[in-house]
């Protein structure tokens, strides 16, 4: 049994928001550390690797099929403020009758420029262009398109560290988000005989940093494990906005509550994936990720920008 049209559309939406946007960054802004989020992106360029990101879900097919996604990506700073991420994912869909289809998605590259890092307000802004290269994946099995997608995207992150002392318990909160406009290089899919919509691809996270609570607000002398946790809720959405003739303008996506454990050289994240509607999936899925901080693992090697990383002497620290 081949994947139905609904299944393919759901997968395309899911892939657009999940496995095509997790360029990663080890992100310090003032006292704030923004962890690498699982289904959206954090607002920094960095030298990092996610190996792997694994997701399990039941897609919006009737009856629902089971889907596994395994993704790998590698982020490298070219200069201090400009970085490139290369991402690849593999998907398997198992139908209720046991039929299995699998294949690679298109290769994706993300070019990002750090527009702003404002330390005192824990504010970071990043501009990027996500390029999903057509015909580089398993187009025959329907997991990759024969055309490319271009998604100019703005990312932001804001920590609440500048809140007044009277609400100091809220300071460990932070929000991150991204808004992108996805444009396909073809407007009509002659294989499926459907228009290819332009889409708004957007998402956000709300996170509470236990490391921040301990070092900036109050040391509760909790067991060390808890001081490394960042509880988080992510939302990842896609909305068709044009060239969608004959199809509903339905927003699809998931709400992902979970937690990230932040370590010395890596982090581990685990989230539930709750579809926001029937078109987004059937039941709760799970996503997990092991994420490596290359800049900490290899601070004088691959963890440096290719250009300009070691030429500048350490700055004299001033307040």
């Amino acid at each position: 049994m081949s994947c139905s049209m609904l299944c393919r559309l759901a997968f395309a939406g899911f892939a657009a928001t999940t496995f095509t946007t997790h360029a990663l960054a080890h992100c310090f802004v003032g006292a704030r550390f923004f962890p690498a989020t699982l289904v959206t992106d954090d607002p920094c360029v960095a030298d990092e690797m996610s190996i792997p990101t694994v997701a399990w879900s039941k897609i919006a097919d009737v009856p629902p099929a089971t889907q596994w996604d395994i993704g790998v990506d590698f982020s490298k700073r070219i200069t201090e403020n400009f970085g490139v991420t290369v991402s690849q994912d593999w998907t398997q869909i198992r139908q209720p009758d046991g039929t299995v289809t699998s294949g690679f998605g298109n290769l994706e590259t993300t070019f990002q420029y750090q527009v702003l890092k404002e330390r005192s307000h824990e504010l970071a802004i990043l501009a990027g262009l996500i390029v999903d290269w057509g015909h580089t994946g398993s187009t025959g099995s329907g997991f990759a398109d024969t055309f490319s997608h271009l998604t100019p995207t703005i990312y932001f992150g804001k920590g609440f560290g500048d809140l007044p002392d009277s609400v100091s318990w809220l300071r460990p909160f932070a929000v991150t988000g991204q808004v992108g406009y996805q444009v396909p290089t073809n407007s009509f899919d002659f294989i499926q005989n459907v228009f290819i919509p332009q889409q708004l691809v957007y998402g956000a996270s709300l996170q509470y940093s236990m490391p921040y609570l301990k070092s900036e607000v109050i040391d509760l002398e909790l067991p060390d494990f808890f001081n490394h946790l960042i509880p988080i809720v992510e939302v990842s959405l896609t909305t068709p906005v044009s060239n969608n003739f004959g199809n509903p303008y339905t927003t699809t996506g998931t709400v992902n509550p979970g937690v990230i454990w932040v370590g010395s050289y890596f982090q581990v994240g685990l989230e539930a994936m709750i579809p926001i509607n029937r078109e987004s999936g059937s039941g709760v899925g799970v996503i997990g990720q092991l994420h490596l901080y290359l800049d900490d693992m290899f601070p004088t090697g691959i963890g440096q920008p290719l250009f300009g990383g070691t030429s500048a002497p350490p700055r004299k620290l001033t307040f």
Binding site: F28, A31, I70, V217, D219, L290, Y293, D296, P314, L317
Partner: protein, 117 residues
């Protein structure tokens, strides 16, 4: 893919075997972050998760009016930074620190502690 999956536990084991953080995070402080002390401390001690570069690490302590109450240049040994304090009357004091770890990563932070009335 099988190779990848089998490599993950080994990678995790290798990573968790490393004791120190690469960025220098504040592990704990004396007086503790956000704490209230019954008596005025004569010294502030900051313990980090990574050894520090003394030339590029600093700390200052100020009172509620912003006046410095530390005794100046801190002493740094390995992952610990100390600075003497003036006689502190009851009140709230803010600590601001910036450090450079030996692997060249910079981190910073601030917190308050209170001296009881």
């Amino acid at each position: 893919m099988r190779i990848l999956i089998s490599a993950v536990p080994s990678l995790l084991a290798a990573l968790t075997a490393t004791a120190a953080w690469a960025h220098a995070f504040l592990d704990h402080a004396e007086p503790r972050v956000g704490s209230t002390t019954a008596t005025a401390p004569r010294e502030l001690v900051l313990h980090y998760t990574q050894n520090l570069e003394p030339a590029f690490s600093s700390v200052e302590v100020s009172d509620a009016n912003g006046a410095r109450v530390d005794l100046g240049k801190p002493t740094i040994s390995a992952s610990t930074m100390r600075v003497g304090l003036k006689a502190l009357p009851p009140g709230t004091y803010r600590v601001r620190w910036q450090v450079l770890s030996v692997d060249t990563h910079t981190t910073e932070g601030s917190f308050t502690f209170h001296v009881k009335q």
